[in-house]
Symmetry: C2
Subunit: 362 residues, 2 copies
């Protein structure tokens, strides 16, 4: 039997998403995958631990009833957005929100629109689902180019703040896109809790908008997988129909509930990350030959004038300092390093290491 | 904007999977969703609790390296099966194994074969992915009919032991199907740890075989979502390519590792379930007007001669005794109740309740 003939044809040219390195062993400073620098606070860890009991044997609530209720009634209470729990979809991480959007809206050959550079999963999923891809190149400064406002298609993905540069696109532009685009607009707000902007307030105006969010970053729960989406309840209803029945695990739901209850303390921690982002940006902008892009996220993108020097920094940070940052070997990104904001001490070590390496190359 | 026009057309006729009831409140005896009656042992609960620390903020290992290694080198060591960790795929529950099989093998219009009655997700996913469905009716006694051995198609799903009747199909039949079927044969062994049979030993002979398994049932981890599959490494390689990068959460991986280390004690617990299955079967078979089908799983299927009486039992068990069992309002299943095997005390209460209700109706 020739297995090759059984695999779907479009897998022949399919490239999987490449996650950032998760190093084994201790002593690494991991500034490469945009995880929250702070661990969950003790109250959240305790709530998770206390839930580890005989209930582990049972299936989780397939409707995630309690947490959906708390998302609209508590977490987003002060936002001017939807308030019905039937406008909330819960998933095994934000990636599963994206996957579910494809299951609801995208037949093979349907056109899917996204931008470059941005989060790699839009392209990976579009290719997996056999969609026709319209990848629109962002302007040199990572702003939205004119074709964003005239594109046609079934689904458009906008990452705001955008990965890897970290800047939000602004609600005026996003609302204009929602009005012009004939399909569904997904605003992936994975990093929005580090920003002052959000498209949540557009949901009442734009029926074709889905806002995707996650507890991985701002609430330090990446390991447990908890993502969600807000949208018109007709959209959410279809998303709930097609999801795997027990997609969201029990401890993720428990942890999410605990984070919502402790949201103010977690937001305080995130403020420190924002302050550190500002500090690092200012420090790095003092060097010649590099500039830091403005960021609303828990990471920054550093532009180097010289590609060779970019790679020397990447190498020396890793090999001499055990500091991991992210480099993308992709068009237009060779001269950039993306650096997640760490704890104060990690950031200090990063700046010290940067200074040392800079003294050699800059 | 008319959202209805944006949803994929095949969702118009799509019916979601209906999970069994998860009642709120205490005092219920839940024999309706085939969860393991026993909670995880204290060692496993402790290992999970001890993992709830600062690592929660980080992404889980996207390759599930450690647990894949332990599955082949420890858990399945005494089975005559594949031994390379690159023959193991890890997923967010066994349902995600099934979903991934569709992503690797099924284009719209491809034929998918499964049996009726069986686990409902094969049909749900086939319909979601736009597959052409060949649903083959099992014989009256739930054995495989002749068309099982001559069917053509891209993927065939065999649930063994089969849900809802609980009986395994036997390796001679499954090997014959693997030889005859031109596509991939998925043997879903969700309940195989309660049986003396498994198709794992066929993997060395049948290159087109995928064996799907789970820690939800036999290892009492339903809440955490940990499923896996064994197959030829070319198949597993494609499955790993298309999966969401962080599909398997960290605590599920931790819990699975702990279950593997404590497997002997967990298998002892499962022996008690098997003994109780035998005892309940014998007790119930004493009643007139009903018979219990032979089962290899952690549940039994009770056949009632009279449909009206079936529903009276369902109702009285629920309303008068707070005991949940499963009834399927589906062709050929109206006269059956499926009952998960509980703890000894729960089973005794079930048998007492059954006796009381029987004295009225049988």
């Amino acid at each position: 039997m020739d297995l090759d003939k059984l695999f779907r044809k479009n897998l022949k040219t399919f490239s999987a998403y490449e996650p950032g390195e998760q190093p084994q062993g201790d002593g690494w400073i991991k500034l490469n995958t945009n995880e929250n620098a702070y661990p969950p606070i003790p109250e959240v860890l305790n709530d998770i631990k206390n839930a580890v009991d005989s209930k582990i044997r049972k299936y989780p609530d397939p409707t995630a009833f309690e947490v959906r209720k708390l998302i609209v009634s508590v977490l987003l209470r002060e936002q001017d957005t939807l308030t019905d729990r039937n406008t909330v979809f819960v998933a095994n991480g934000c990636d599963e929100v994206l996957d579910t959007v494809f299951k609801v809206f995208v037949d093979p050959g349907d056109e899917v629109v996204f931008f470059y550079p941005s989060y790699g999963m839009y392209d990976v999923l579009a290719s997996l689902y056999g969609a026709k891809v319209n990848e629109i190149k962002l302007n040199e400064d990572f702003s939205l180019p004119e074709p964003a406002f005239t594109a046609k298609g079934k689904v458009m993905f906008i990452n705001s703040p955008n990965n890897p540069n970290g800047k939000s696109f602004g609600n005026a532009a996003i609302l204009k896109i929602c009005s012009n685009f004939p399909g569904i607009v997904v605003v992936d707000e994975t990093y929005a809790d580090f920003s002052t902007q959000s498209s949540l307030s557009l949901l009442k105006k734009a029926k074709n908008l889905i806002v995707a969010r996650t507890f991985s970053k701002s609430f330090s729960l990446a390991s447990l997988r908890f993502g969600y989406a807000l949208a018109n309840k007709d959209i959410i209803n279809e998303m709930n129909k097609v999801k795997l029945p027990y997609n969201s695990n029990y401890l993720a739901q428990v942890a999410a509930i605990s984070c919502i209850k402790n949201r103010e303390r977690l937001q305080q921690q995130n403020k420190k990350i924002i302050e550190q982002r500002q500090l690092i940006t200012e420090e790095l902008n003092k060097y010649p030959g590099i500039s830091v892009l403005p960021s609303d996220a828990n990471f920054i993108l550093i532009k180097f004038d010289d590609k060779a020097i970019t790679l020397k920094f990447l190498w020396d940070l890793r090999e001499k300092k055990k500091i991991l940052v992210r480099h993308f070997s992709k068009a237009g990104l060779y001269n950039y390093l993306r650096v997640s904001i760490g704890l104060e001490e990690e950031n200090r070590k990063f700046l010290d290491a940067f200074r040392e390496i800079a003294s050699q190359y800059l």
